[in-house]
Symmetry: C2
Subunit: 204 residues, 2 copies
């Protein structure tokens, strides 16, 4: 029989939210396989964690913004944004809420697709790069200049579609990540944008 | 050379939003391959449609709801919902807005995962079904009773996680799709929930 180590028990507890003894028994039954043990727990109706019901990932706030183009017409664009911080003290403060509000307005105004540049799927970057390359070739640009042209256009694509890299709509010379860096410095806590959603009735 | 039919041109126009002659030329260049022709259009900078910028898909409204558990604490749950209808006349009306509001509150209260039962990925249904089957076996249920038990539990899973099938939080005897059916009947227009998002700071 495989050895059920405290490390395995800890892993399964994090995964399942179940108690220590339940986890130990499930791991014994599953021969030390954490995935199998999780299934065992679920089947026994002990595992508390479904995919969505989850553990705390820190403090923060959810902010919403609905954009109306005229008084008698209902909002056609809506934004939801979640901003996280480290303590409820900061989460409850005016400055933090104000930042979340600005970020919601930013998303409404500019329609970014991702939070950070790391969130862009590789295949999209490859596709964009290929497109710019072929365009530069068709435009008859000198071969040695093409890599630089392409990188410039990829960077432009990122600045357009990634929230953190976008120009702040109120002051286009500032970038959103700098806006957040200022709040971090002021509030003395790490602040992250966890996710956003933007619905537009007019878009597919 | 492949024949460029009106059908192909129509398809490419829908895909790209480009003009008829541009589409015809692109299809000729791509030997009648719509995908290739779309790339040709994009490369030439003619295709107007990016993935997100899109054509109208009807009328509607975006509604938001932020849930506060206490006055001095910022919202920890936020919901965005898009509800569509056929005409702006209905979209502008009080009844339609009220329905969208109720749906946002419903999503906040119950946290559904999908809009309709058709939106549940097949692998999730298979996984749930297997789980219920094994559970019934372990519980020593008679073999011929198991299919019926399993189907009942799958139906319960759907009623819990699918917005349209959920019990309405204000009147648990009514189901959300009946609530919408009543609005359809009253407003004499088709009404659909296009999408929703629900963020909870406390959840993974």
């Amino acid at each position: 029989m495989a050895k059920v180590t405290p490390e395995l028990i800890r892993k399964l507890r994090e995964l399942s939210g179940a108690g220590m003894m339940d986890c130990k028994h499930a791991l014994e039954e599953a021969d030390g396989d954490v995935e199998k043990a999780f299934t065992v727990l679920r089947e026994k109706g002990i595992a508390k964690a479904a995919k969505r019901a989850g553990r705390a990932t820190g403090q923060g706030v959810v902010e919403a913004y609905l954009h109306k183009t005229s008084e008698d017409y209902p909002p056609q664009v809506g934004v939801l944004v979640e901003v996280n911080c480290e303590t409820d003290f900061v989460a409850k403060g005016q400055d933090f809420r104000k930042l979340a509000r600005e970020l919601a307005l930013q998303v409404a105004a500019t329609g970014p697709r991702w939070v950070t540049r790391d969130d862009i799927p590789d295949e999209i970057l490859v596709q964009e790069r290929n497109l710019y390359e072929r365009k530069a070739e068709q435009d008859g640009k000198p071969e040695q200049a093409i890599p630089k042209i392409v990188e410039g256009q990829v960077e432009k694509f990122i600045q357009e579609h990634v929230l953190m890299e976008q120009a702040y709509f109120r002051e286009p010379k500032r970038v959103i990540k700098d806006l957040i860096a200022e709040s971090i410095s002021k509030l003395q806590e790490n602040i992250t944008v966890r996710r956003f959603a933007r619905f537009n009735v007019r878009e597919e």
